[in-house]
Every structure is written in C-alpha cells, then in structure tokens.
C-alpha cells in the first residue's frame, strides 16, 4: 500500500499522531526511575563520596514499585560484605516513618543516610528532621535522580487511555455498521446502562450474589447481552417492517431502555457482585495488556475482516450506498439491516458488561451521552453519515482521538468546562480535515 493511499484511507491517523506529539510536548515533566533501576542509581550515589554510610534508613510506600526498590537496595548494600551498613526499612505511610524514626531515636542510634523515592522524599515528616529528632544526627537524603519524559508517553498512561476508551470503541463497531447502512442508532447509551444493570442484578439475585461462580457470572452476562440484542432486533424490525426512520425508532428505544434500567435498578446502583467480576474490566492477563483492550483489539480484527473480506460486509456498504439498487441486485436488504441493528445493540450490551466489570457495579446512570461520543468517534473516523462508506480502523482511530484529547487535557490541567469546548471544536476540525482530504 502506497503511503499516499494510506493517508487517503486513514487521514485520521495523522491527526492522532499530531495530537500525541502535541500532548507529549505539553506533558514533558520530571520522572524518576522506579524499582530496581532506582535502587542501582541510589546505591551508586551512596558508594561515591568519601566515607561509607554506616546506618541507612530506606523510606518507601507500600506499593509494588517501592517494595522492589527497597528489596533491591537492601541487596545491593549488603553486597558490600563487612563494610555493609545496617539498614532499616520503612514500608507504608508517613505515620509509619515517624514511628520508625521515634524508635531509632529512642534506641540512641544515629542515621547517616535516608534513602527515599521521589514520593517519600516529599513527605513532610522528613522536612524538619534535625529539629524533630536531634539525636539522629544530620543524615544525608538520597533519592533517585529525575529525568525528563512526557507523562503522556509513559506506557502505563498509554494503556490507561486504551482502557478508558475500550467501552466506547467496542460500542462504536456496531454503530459504524449501522451508520454505513445509512441508519443511526441512538439507543446504545441506554442499552449499555440496561445491560450493566441487568447483568449485575441477575448475578445478585440468581447467581448467588457475592459468592457467584465464574460460570454463573458468564451466563448472566450473556443473558444481558442477548436481551440487548433482542431490543436491537425489535428496533430493526420496526425499521424494516414499518419503515419508521431509524432516528425515531432508536430515540424511542433510548427512552425505553433507560426507563427499564431505572426500574430494574430501582434508581440505585447494584453492587452485590463478586470481587472476581472485575477480571474482564480491570484484569491484565496477556503481556500486561488489559483484558478489555485485548477484547477490543480482537473485535476490531473480526469486524475488519467482516467488512472487507466477507459478503455480508459488502452488503452493508451496498445497502448504505443505494438501498434500492442493492435490493434490485439481489441483496437481502431487510436481513442486512436487521443484522446491523442486532450487532449494534449486542455490542452495546457487551460494553455495558465491561463497564459493570470496571466499576464492579451496575447503575442506570452509566452511558449518559455515550451515544453522542460513539457517533462522534465514528464520524471523526471518516464514516459518512450518509452511509455507504467508512472503515473499522477509521472508527478505532476516531475513538482514540477522542480518548487522547480527553486524557491529554486531564494531564495538562485543562479545566473541565473548557475541555468540552475543545473536544467539540476538535471533532469539528477532524471532520473538516476529512472533507479537505476527500475534495482534493
């Protein structure tokens, strides 16, 4: 594929790359090494400069990176053999550090070095050490040297973005299909809420509540997704049998779905579900990639194959391009439309299950305005609202564009009302870029 063709197909990817570059430049800030790397650096600093320390206090928080740092530093310091310093370790909160300092002061010991992490170095418990604990002497404070790197480009942030957008991106697959057929689906946000409430309630009432088994939970989730699919089938039937415009049908189903979700949940969130239910939304079993993101990637792969390699995909484009011509050339228009609405509703159901899993509860308030974000992702991704054109990976790029803008603005402290204005303008700008590309 020639680069120019690639750009023509996925112009949005360029915009996405520019946004990433922009936010990387804006979030350039001090980072500090963590874990083993930090320990090696600090050990080296302690080895330098004249007298070797005899007493060292390692101050860390009770979290994985800090624990690894403390363990590695202890190992490195004890490797010095007979000249190894005596080491105490704090693992926890400032309160724990204070207790340790009090204990050391009471036993009459002096401290030569306090080895911190970036975070513990800022603890106020150490800010006035000489005055608070004069008997400890004047220890030197050592913490890993910081380097400059964008907050935006940290791997955990990039995974964070993918995880945040997974639900919208998955729902956008189905809505893309509907929009490619020339229709619209406004009910996805409500169906997402309905599915989250239904799955949570089924687990609470019928699968044993917080003691539910994985198989039971899976069954409840499938029932919830299936129920949403049935709503989609109903919408599809209304559209194909009675020729009611999709806008009206799905607007009605949006209200119905939301109402049923409120009724089923009695307006409350349903949270009596097992701890293990968060596996789908928050687990990361494969190469540190969150399961929801993995599922999203698989679904996009399948959707891409469906749309570009299979007969059904070509039929979806044909119906959207010109439904009358498609009918005359033997495309089963009604069945194709039914498929699109069922797929859209089922994927919204799946999105609801993922959201319930991420938040470990189902609530009728989930998914508010999601239909608009999803449609924005689809349109930003280059799919025409007139139907007949659009690509799955375009939609994915559109969803990521929205996620990157939101995350980037959160990281650069843009106030939340301004965020809405910027997001709206960027969506408009992205579509302008798309138009410019097409008319060139």
């Amino acid at each position: 594929m020639k680069p120019s063709r690639l750009f023509a197909d996925y112009g949005m990817v360029l915009v996405l790359a520019l946004l990433c570059a922009l936010f990387s430049a804006l979030t350039f800030s001090d980072q500090s090494p963590t874990g083993e790397a930090a320990a090696i650096q600090v050990a080296k600093m302690l080895g330098q400069g004249g007298s070797r320390p005899a007493r060292v206090l390692i101050a860390t928080r009770d979290q994985p990176d800090d624990v690894a740092y403390a363990a590695a530093l202890q190992r490195l310091l004890s490797a010095a053999g007979s000249s190894a310093p005596s080491v105490s370790v704090v693992r926890g909160e400032p309160k724990d550090a204070r207790e340790t300092l009090q204990r050391l002061a009471a036993s009459g010991e002096r401290l030569d070095v306090v080895a911190c992490t970036q975070a513990t170095g800022a603890w106020l418990v150490f800010s006035n050490l000489q005055a608070d604990f004069p008997s400890l002497g004047e220890p030197r404070f050592v913490s890993p040297r910081s380097y400059r790197w964008p907050n935006f480009l940290k791997s955990e942030n990039l995974l964070n973005i993918a995880n945040q957008i997974a639900v919208i991106a998955i729902v956008a697959i189905g809505v893309s299909m509907v929009i490619i057929t020339g229709g619209i689906d406004l009910s996805v946000g409500s169906l997402l809420a309905l599915s989250s409430v239904l799955s949570a309630r089924l687990i609470r009432d019928y699968a044993g509540g917080i003691a539910a088994s994985p198989a039971g939970m899976l069954l409840c989730c499938l029932v919830a997704i299936f129920a949403c699919g049935a709503v989609g089938a109903f919408s599809g039937a209304m559209i194909t049998r009675f020729s009611i415009p999709p806008f009206i049908v799905t607007l009605a189903m949006m209200l119905v779905g939301s109402g049923i979700a409120y009724i089923l949940a009695k307006g409350q969130s349903i949270y009596q579900i097992p701890e293990s239910f968060v596996w789908l939304g928050r687990g990361a079993d494969f190469l540190n990639v969150p399961n929801a993101v993995f599922l999203m990637a698989v679904l996009y792969g399948l959707a891409h194959i469906l749309m570009s390699r299979m007969k059904l995909g070509r039929h979806l484009y044909a119906v959207g391009g010109n439904s009358e011509a498609a009918r005359l050339s033997g495309v089963p228009v009604r069945r194709v439309l039914m498929f699109a609405y069922i797929a859209s509703a089922s994927l919204a159901g799946l999105g609801g299950v993922i959201m319930a899993s991420q938040l470990k509860s189902g609530s009728p308030t989930y998914g508010g305005m999601y239909e608009l974000y999803v449609i924005a992702a689809v349109v930003v991704g280059g799919t025409s609202l007139a139907g007949g054109e659009g690509r799955m990976f375009g939609t994915l790029a559109g969803a990521f564009t929205i996620a990157v803008i939101q995350n980037g603005m959160n990281l650069t402290n843009v106030e939340s009302y301004t965020q809405k204005v910027v997001l709206g303008l960027v969506i408009l700008g992205a579509v302008l870029v798309d138009k410019a590309r097409n008319t060139r």
Partner: protein, 346 residues
C-alpha cells in the same frame, strides 16, 4: 449533600447536529487552529509549573468533586487550590459531573500523574470503590469530602464533612425560637435518600422531642414529606401539607431550594404571617431570602473551612500524624440580623 440526582440528559440528543457541507479548507490551516486552541487553553498549567519551579514544590493534589456547578463544591475546590498553593502544592481540580465512570477515569489519570494526594466527593459511594482500591495499591492517600465512602476494603485517610446532626439541632433551636410561647404544628420537608439529610432531620427531631419532654409549649411534627431537595418538589409538598393542616405554624426544609419552594407555596396560600420556615445550607439565594424575611433562619455550612481542613489534613498525614476517621465542621445559625451585616448580599 444538597444536590439532586441528575436529570436524564439523554433528551439533549434532540440537538443532534446534522451533516454539514463545508467549503474546501487547507489541512495545515485547520491543524494550526486546533494547535492554537489547545496550547491557548493550556496557559494556566504552564503558569503553575513556573511558579512551582521558584518554590520547593511539595507535589500535586488531585481533586475530583461531585460537581462544580453548585457553589458549595466550587468553594471547596477553590479553597483547596488557594490553601494548597500556600504550602507549595499544585492542585488539579476537576468536576465528576455526577458521572461515576467519568470520575473513575479522572482518578486513574491522577494515579498515572503520581499525585501526592487525592481528594474526592464520590459520585456513587459503591461504584467508586474499585478505583479507590487502585489508588490505595499505588500508595496514594485518599481523602473524602462531604460525601463519605464507608465501604469495606477501601482505605480512606480521613473524611471531612459538615456536622449535619448538629446542624439539625440548631435548626430545631431556631424553630423553637421562632414559634415562641405558642408552639404549634410543624412539618419537615425531607430528602430521604441522602444520608446527610437523614442526619439533619434526626438532629432536628431529637431537640424538638427534648423540648416537648421538658414541658415547654408543645411543638408537634405533623408531617414528613419528600421534597427531593428541589424547589418544584418542595413547592408541591408544602401545598399538600397546607391542605391537610390549615393551622400549620412552621416548616423545616433540609436545604435552601426546598425551603424556597415551600415559601412559594405559603405565599400562594397567603399564609406568610402564619408559617415560618427554617432552611439549611446558606447558599447565596437562601441568604438573600433570609435578609428579605422569607426564611426565618438557616444553619449554614462552611465550604471554605472544609477546604482549609482538607489541606491541613493532607499536611498532617504527610508529617506522619495519626488522623481521626472524620472531621466534622460545625454549622452556625444565620438569622436576619446576620444577613443585614453580610456584605456579600445586595
């Protein structure tokens, strides 16, 4: 807590934009525009970072409040920002917009940013649990304000809220003072789903019961109706009460909007001389009504004191002090005389 559940926002779909025909535009021009917009909006952040270079920066406080369109929460947020700056903390203040999924994402962004402390008023005490656990696992202390999260399995450094029970007692004292020697029938406009309102009514009832038990002129609570903490529902509830108890003498409303709704009903019934209202909160509109004599008095809350208390709690936590599980900020009675001295009112 004095705000309503959000109305269903899905009807805003009717504003759905139609595809627009656009003239030819150069790619570069559009991108420049987007870039200017984004960098333009980023100026406050840049300023904050240069300031923190000049002084030793203690770190960042991430704050996500229930909403920022309620002056109560806005004041809490602004006070934290100002107070934090005094102690060399940078503050990131965002609004959860009553959307717990949005708030969860905000907290996750705080964790990635490695903030030194997180302050939040949960949009949903149950659904926020997983993300608080994530912050706990990352070793970042979490403070809650106004709305607590008392679920098992989460570690909250401390909770800061108004002493709603004490406030309810003060409301009862104001009611007793207003009714004077005669006593009489009073009604309560409740907002039962909200825990803070339950506490207010419990405090109110306790003092009224003690007053009656002491043999003073009897005050009888004849009705307890749901007001939803809103003007329209408060109006309807008060109208119904006036129908069934024509000789009603007083109404205690759990917040200012409900009190103002009740006032409208009383005005409509022409009973402004007969029925007194005691509200709660001390929002600007409520204070104005007190000045005009429409509401007798309010136990008022102090969101600014709450903000100061939060920053103080963060500092004490960082110094390694042991914090109590909650700080209660007392209310204070605000009557017409206070309103006349209040320079913030017209």
């Amino acid at each position: 807590m004095n705000s309503l559940k959000p109305a269903n926002s899905r009807l805003s779909i009717l504003l759905y934009p139609h595809p627009i025909l656009v003239k030819k535009h150069s790619l570069a021009k559009t991108l420049c525009l987007a870039a200017v917009l984004l960098t333009g909006c980023d100026k406050p952040a840049e300023k904050a970072s240069t300031q923190s270079n000049a002084t030793p920066n203690q770190g960042t406080i991430g704050v996500s409040l229930l909403t920022l369109d309620n002056p109560f929460f806005k004041t809490i947020g602004d006070t934290i920002t100002a107070e934090g700056l005094k102690h060399h903390y940078t503050t990131v203040l965002v609004s959860g917009d009553k959307d717990v999924a949005k708030q969860s994402n905000q907290i996750k962004d705080f964790i990635v940013k490695k903030v030194s402390a997180i302050v939040l008023s949960p949009c949903d005490s149950k659904s926020i649990v997983p993300v608080i656990q994530e912050a706990n696992a990352a070793g970042i202390p979490v403070f809650t304000v106004d709305i607590p999260c008392n679920e098992p399995g989460v570690k909250i450094a401390t909770q800061i809220a108004t002493d709603n029970f004490g406030g309810g007692k003060e409301a009862a004292l104001a009611m007793i003072e207003a009714l004077g020697e005669a006593g009489g029938k009073v009604a309560v406009l409740h907002f039962k789903q909200v825990e803070s309102c339950q506490l207010r009514v419990r405090g109110f009832t306790e003092v009224i019961n003690a007053h009656n038990a002491a043999g003073k002129p009897r005050i009888e609570v004849v009705a307890e109706l749901e007001s939803g903490g809103a003007k329209d529902a408060g109006f309807k509830a008060a109208e119904d009460i006036l129908q069934s108890h024509a000789d009603l003498r007083g109404i205690f409303a759990i917040n200012d909007p409900a009190a103002l709704g009740a006032r409208a009903a009383i005005e409509k019934a022409g009973k402004t001389k007969q029925v007194v209202i005691v509200g709660f909160d001390g929002q600007p509109e409520g204070k104005q009504a007190i000045k005009e004599g429409k509401i007798y008095a309010d136990p008022i809350q102090f969101p600014d004191k709450m903000g100061v208390q939060i920053v103080d709690a963060i500092l004490r936590h960082s110094k390694g002090e042991t914090l109590p599980p909650q700080f209660l900020i007392p209310t204070s009675l605000y009557r017409k005389a206070d309103a006349e001295k209040d320079s913030s009112l017209k």
